[in-house]
Each structure stands twice: as C-alpha cells, then as structure tokens.
C-alpha cells in the first residue's frame, strides 16, 4: 500500500497570534512551527500500517522552503520520503489542486490529511482532494482499518460516531482517535540522523489559482474583567438577570 500523509506547517498550539503589515499578514516573529496536530495523528497511523501490514509512507507539504524542517521532522518520525510542492499555500482549493497532482504522479492508494489545520481551520483540503481525484472520502476519521482494497472507518458525528465501509483509493480527514495522544512519536537521535539522508523532493507547482483571498485579520476585542462572586445565589442571579443565559 502506498500512503501519502499531508502535512500542514502550523504555529505551535501555544503561539501568540499577532498580525503585521496593517493586519494583512500573520506575524511569524518568535513563532515555533510544528506538524499540524491532526496530521500528526494521521502520520502515526500511517507508521502503524507500515509496521504491521507493510506500506510505504510519503509525506507532502505545499509551501515555500521554510516548511522543510517540518517535513524533516516527519521523516525523523519514520516517513520514507518527503515532497514539498514549491509554492506558498494560499487557499484550501489551490492546495488541494497541488496535492491532486502529487497523488496522480505517485499513484497513492491512501491519502491521510488532518480534519483541519489549526491555523486557518478551513477543514476543506482532504474533501476537495478526494473529489478532485474521484476517490472515496471519510472526514473526522477516528479509526481506520484497511484489508486489501477494503477499508473500514469510524467517523465522529455530532453526538456520536458511525462506522463506514468503503474502498481504496481513499482520502481521510483524520484527528485524535486514529491513534491516541500517547501513541505519538518523538523523533529519536537515530531517526533524526536518518532523516537527513532521506529524499526530500522539491516539486514545481502546477497551475492552480486561488479562489478565496484573505484581505485582513483582526484580533477579538479585549474582554472586560471577570466578575467574581462568593456565593452561588449571586451567580445564578447574574446569569439570569444580567447575562440572560439561564
């Protein structure tokens, strides 16, 4: 089985979010970038496929050269090869078109992406990719098993989960549950050394225009100070009469 894991290069979850250039650009100053958490669950699941059933695992990112350390980290975790599509990631649709070209070239059976990236939260790339490829698609995937060309997935739905039967070629939008937090792998020294000599292919972008453009950013208005009360009667009174939420 040939597996491709899509890796978003995103600010660490503890990053302070600020904007520059008249609130038109994300301020990367002092920001640590990591593998998007939803993608990392998928990468670890892919490693299990490789170890238990035999599979090759490639990782891909659409972005400029500064995303390469994130791809190297994925190689250090255990991916065999990395591909960087050499163009800045603009909107979800254009990223999906770039990825579709990579999947067609590479003949992958299974593509695992994250349910959403934690920066733009669009949650659209895996679904668009599947539709561009005419592949099957399962979103918010919390369990995935593949036997031959048949796949069984569990999807999180509002208030529960459902079990889905489908087949390869398949794209999933993954999240925690594919593997647990405690299953995630921290690259060891051997992995980091090996990652240096693993292939990282830089692929030229195909022609794919963006269909949405972000024109400005804004931070939420500062909120007022918390009102502290010392008994539950006052709290109920405030929630009923002031906030009007109960």
């Amino acid at each position: 089985m040939k597996i491709l894991v899509c890796i978003s290069h995103v600010p660490d979850t503890t990053s302070k979010i600020n904007f520059t250039d008249g609130d038109t650009k994300f301020d990367t100053n002092g920001v640590q970038f990591v593998i998007n958490p939803n993608d990392e669950f998928g990468l670890t699941r892919a490693m299990w496929f490789k170890e238990k059933q035999g599979a090759s695992v490639h990782v891909v990112n659409v972005g400029s050269a500064e995303t390469e350390p994130t791809l190297r980290k994925a190689l250090a975790i255990g991916a065999d090869e990395a591909i960087r599509v050499n163009t800045p990631a603009t909107d979800g649709y254009s990223v999906a078109k770039q990825l579709a070209a990579v999947v067609k070239d590479g003949g992958y059976d299974l593509v695992i992406g994250g349910r959403e990236s934690i920066d733009y939260n669009g949650g659209m790339v895996p679904g668009m990719l599947a539709q561009l490829l005419d592949a099957n698609f399962v979103n918010t995937c919390i369990s995935l098993e593949v036997e031959g060309t048949n796949a069984t997935a569990i999807r999180e739905i509002d208030g529960g989960k459902e079990t889905i039967k489908t087949s390869l070629p398949l794209v999933v939008g993954g999240q925690k549950g594919l593997v647990e937090e405690s299953d995630l792998r921290i690259p060891n020294m051997r992995g980091i050394m090996q990652a240096r000599s693993k292939p990282l292919h830089v692929k030229e972008a195909v022609d794919a225009s963006a269909e949405t453009t972000t024109v400005s950013f804004e931070k939420p208005a500062a909120k007022g100070a918390v009102k502290l009360v010392d008994n539950v009667d006052d709290l109920i009174n405030l929630l009923h009469n002031e906030a009007k939420v109960i």
Binding site: T13, D119, Q131, D158, G160, T213, V215, S216, V232
Partner: protein, 322 residues
Amino acid sequence: MSVLVYTESEDGKFKKIALEAVSYAKGIADMMGTSVTAISVNGGDASALAGYGADKVLEVSNDKLNNFNAAAYADAVAQAAKAEGAKVVVLTSSADSKFMAPLVAVNLEAGYVANVTALPVSAAPFKVTHTVFTNKAFATSEITTDVKIIGLGKNAYGLKENSGSGAAEAFSPSLSDADFKTEVVSVDKATDKVTIADAEIVVSAGRGLKGPENWGMIEEMADILGAATACSKPVSDMGWRPHGEHVGQTGKPVASNLYIAIGISGAIQHLAGINSSKVKVVINNDPEAPFFKAADYGIVGDAFEIVPQLNEKLKAFKANNS
C-alpha cells in the same frame, strides 16, 4: 438566481441550525435582492422553514439517503444549486455540513469559506468574516468565484423570523453508483443526551475533579440545565471521559450561549476552543488559574463544595422559572 441553503433534519424535524441557516440565507438574499431556496433531504415539514425566510423548499425524498452520505448529499446540493442558478450556497458547521462542503465546492468549482461569523461585509466584491487560528482571531476573505459557498459558524447568527412563502417542491437529483461507494453500516449515538454541537449550555470539567468517579455532580448539573457535558484534554487523554467530550484546539469547538468550566485551569489550547461561547463561568480553587482572565463570571473555591450547592440552587431556580 437565488441563495440556496442546506437544511438538516433529525428524526423528521428540522434542527435548530437549519432554521439559523435559513435566517442567515435570508439576510444574504436581502443584500443581493434575491430569494431563498432551501433544500432538505428526507427532511421535516417545509412550512417550518417559511417562518425564517425560505421562499421555496426543494424536498429530496429517497430511502437510499436515510443515512448521511457526503458524496450523494453533495451531489444533490450541487445539482439543486445549478437548477436554481444559485450564486451563494449556505451550509453550517455541523459534522455533516463540514464533511460535504468541500465536495460541493469542487462540484460547483466554487470558493468555500468555513466558520463564517456574520453576514457578508459586502456582496460585491463578496467578502466574509470568519474565525481563524482556532478562534484566536478573525479574518476577512474575498471569494472570487462566480458561485460562493459559506459554512456558517456555530451559534454565529441566531434565529431571525422572516416570512417566506415556503412553497414545497419535490426535487429528484440524479445519483449514480459512484455516490454510494462509502456506506454507513452502523450509527452509535446517545439519543437521550444533548450534544456539544447543539447545546445552548455546556458544563465542562477538568483535572480539578480528581477522578472519573466524581463526574456525577457534573452530569447532574447538565441534566438540570438541559446542557451537554464536556471536558478538558488531560481528562480525555487519561480516559476519564470519552474523546467526544474533549473541548479545545485539537478537540471540539464550543460556541454555546453559556459555558461553565469547573476545575479547568484554562490552558491556551482549551481557551481557543471555547472562545466563541458567549458567556463563560469559571469555578476553580486557584485564583491564579488563567481561565479567570478569559471568563465573565467566576467563583474561587472548591468544586466539591460549590457544585453541589449550585446544583441545589439551580434546581430550585428551575422549579420557580419554568
């Protein structure tokens, strides 16, 4: 030309998010000087949508669509959009909407923006504001394609009563075998519990509760308030509560009217997930807990003393106010 809105039902009735989506679609239609067409799949009574502004309701009735199927539903919505000449398609932030929206976008070659917080800033050029960085910021984006797809954020717009004619019309999309290559074989859903997605009130607890055996008082509060229960990441990682309850950056976002956090310190990743909630209450014994900075109301004290007292008083309050 019209604004097409996908309306979700459950057990033969339209969900609240469907009514909210119609209200929102009506707002856009008014900006653009056009009408609202709703599409429902094996859905509720069309007249329920008229009161929020639907002028026409396309009713798809097909036993093969009893379980949600993203490919087939997306095909149905895209075909309806083409038949109606819709320039804007409104979806929501439900799990099903987020599953099908990217497929609809590709079918219609339409730009799609998710987590939209309000009516468009302008209709031409078409610009909308949406949350980014997991609710830590807002972005305004322009959609440049002819057809635009909007994913309305949770609890972002509210219900607005309007009058539409709500004329029901049968609609039979042509679906192919390719639409049924993924099949739901079983659904596991607690029917007696309020879901985090639908809840007006969410009661959430963290490590401060010391162990899963202490969640009885949290569930009791949720029962009294008709609320959903949720938890922090460490609690779900330790297996005290199911993953589906984990709220935060890598868990579920919460956009309820009231969020009550008990024994949760308020890590930045947790706060990101609940930012869109309107009123936040914190109960924590540590006055330095970061959550107090993000909250509207707070009590500094021991959850094991305060929560039982609060439950008793809430019961009395509910008895007097219902």
